[in-house]
Amino acid sequence: MLSTFHGLETVRRGMTAQQQALYVTGHNIANANTPGYSRQRVNFEQTPPYPFASQNRPVMPGQMGTGVEGGTVQRMREEFLDVQYRGENMKYGYWNTRAEALYKMEEIMNEPSDEGLAKTLDRFWQALQDLAVNPSNSGARSVVRQRGIAVAETFHYLSSSLKSIREDLKNELDVTVKAVNSLARQLNDINKQIGEVEVHGYLLNDLYDERNRLLDELSQYVNIKVTPVPSGGSALKIAEGRFTVELVDRNGTSLGKLVDGNTGAFNEITVKYETTGDKYVREIKLGNDSLNFLSFKENGKIGALLHSYGYVGGTGLYPEMLNNLNAMAKAFADQFNAVHSRGWSVTEIKSNTKDGKTFFTYNPSDPAGTLDVEQTIKNSLDNIAASASGQIGDGSNAQALAEVKNGTMNIAGNTTTIQNFYESLIGQMAVNAQEAKRLSQNSEVLRQSVDERRMAVSSVSLDEEMMNMMKFQHAYNASARMITMIDQMLDKIINNMGIVGR
């Protein structure tokens, strides 16, 4: 037998549930522009029907519904898309950082232009040709000296600029590592909170969103793999649990745990540098484990910085360019000096003794950075050896010096001309930069398309919320109307019945 107020109770539940849904709608609208927010939905559930199916049930035909209640408030999210997004974000982090490093390198090398090293060498070569034609002209000699200094200074400029960018890369690497460690700490904290509350049957939508946001951010720095660990207790089925975050290489092989969902611990990444020489990265560790440098290949921003800055036993974009410039400066200076010391300078002709002076000096530990024109030549133009025969009017040694630029020599193990070697350096850099730029753009497009799909699931549509608002409001109103109806019904029974003949 149904109770008198059964209907009232049913519609009251209806009102409460619709009200709850309206509040969630309000929450969605309010967060329509919050980054990382996933729209939420109230899972309406029917309350148990009357009568219960039990032994002592009252006998009546069928069951009667008793209304609705607002069940769990669930986030709308497609986790598979998160995994995809992070994969692309990781690639974007790598290629974008690499592209930036190469972008700066291109700016320093400044080729092809009228100010680059190639042009400086061309001008030096021209000055030597002029000297070859006018060997006794001190004007021609002075131009050779000045342009020789210009060549040396251009090498310095390239070397020191590359070094300072490399130093910037080091700082960036340190900052990035700090960011990763901070993210690991925050993720671990969120894990803890989630683990403590989920066991009581709650869903922590805001914390889930926050955790996702942190994981998205982390994924641009390193490649990560996320595995959920259920919280246990009375945790709901749709509860997300704690997350174990592993560092993986680009093939998905685990390198170690950054955040451990089981133990509630997290590990920090540490980077150690050599203290001498080129100050390469000596070691990169996750917690107490040393990581292989190669596993950072194409692996997030840290990988790109590591491979741009350079590490022990491997190479990096900047050290490679510096080494090549050094090899080039050294080979050029050596070859030039050899030819120069074979010739006769005016001083040597006058004193009729050959002292075989060189033209360039450099410190073997850093040829490009220390290349300079000999002090003796800076002191007197008469020390430039333009003559091969010992006659002042003979310019054939200047001629031979001019040919050094086009002569084959051994540079860093390659038999090549200085011109071709430098062209190949620039070509290699250009191809690298082009590749990095292209892949950075590709991964950005892919990341964006995944993000788009993710937003299609998770982001708030104001139209949709508006529709829901109408829907819930009407249901709320109708429930209220139902109360009025029941009120009239009861009024009939209570106030208008049994008064026959009154």
Partner: protein
Amino acid sequence: MRVTQMMLANNTLRNVSKSYDKLGTYQQQLATGKKIHRPSEDPVVAVKGMHYRTSLTEIEQFQRNLSEAYTWMENSESALNHTTNVLQRARELVVQAKNGTLGQEDRQAIAREIEQLKKDLVQVANTKVAGKYIFNGTKIEQAPVTDGTPPTVRNNNDDFMVEVAKGVKLKINVTPNNVFNQGLFNTLQQIENELANPTSNLDNLLSQLDGHLNDVLAERAELGARVNRLELVEQRLAEQQLIAKRMISDNEDADIEKIITELKSQESVHRAALSVGARIIQPTLVDFLR
């Protein structure tokens, strides 16, 4: 697929900024007139560009060397022309002197003229161009002939070489010994002496003089041939310069018409992107439900 306001806003922003990026590229290309402004935009163009620029610099330098070569050769040629004239005059005088009707005073006069011609040749041998003695091999700072009786020749016979094309060196001086050797001055001196004190040796001296004249003519012919060669090289360099410049232009220069067309169409895309953004973002259901 659900499309939400945030997606629309993000897409609009992305499209507009991409469009700006393209406009920026066109602006750069138009402002500089170059297809690329960093190697990564086209590595092949960049490396080729470096190569062509160097080639052009080289060609221009060779052209500069060439003008130096011309200076030497033209001056040498005019000096040799003068030398021929002088020697021919000397020959006329000797032939005249052989005439038995001449008296001693006439001979003396001829001897004085021969002396002057000799001195003139010393000056020619010591021709200086831009401060350099062009008839002394590579010893350009020293005069090859010292005036005297007879003048003494101490010339250097090294070749003065100038590179006029990649790996091509050309001798730009005249070997002085072929023209202004001690023999020539000795002959002239002997003629002068003979005229002052005749020993009827003039026939022999005349044939010596003819020998020297021939030497000078031979050297002139050789010089002429070299000037021809120089002219050929000059033509070739001019062609190469043209080709190098065209290659640089083909390789690096922006096609202005094409870029302006692309700029205009990109501009309309940009306007469309902006106006679509403005239209699409504004109204939601909220605006229509009152």
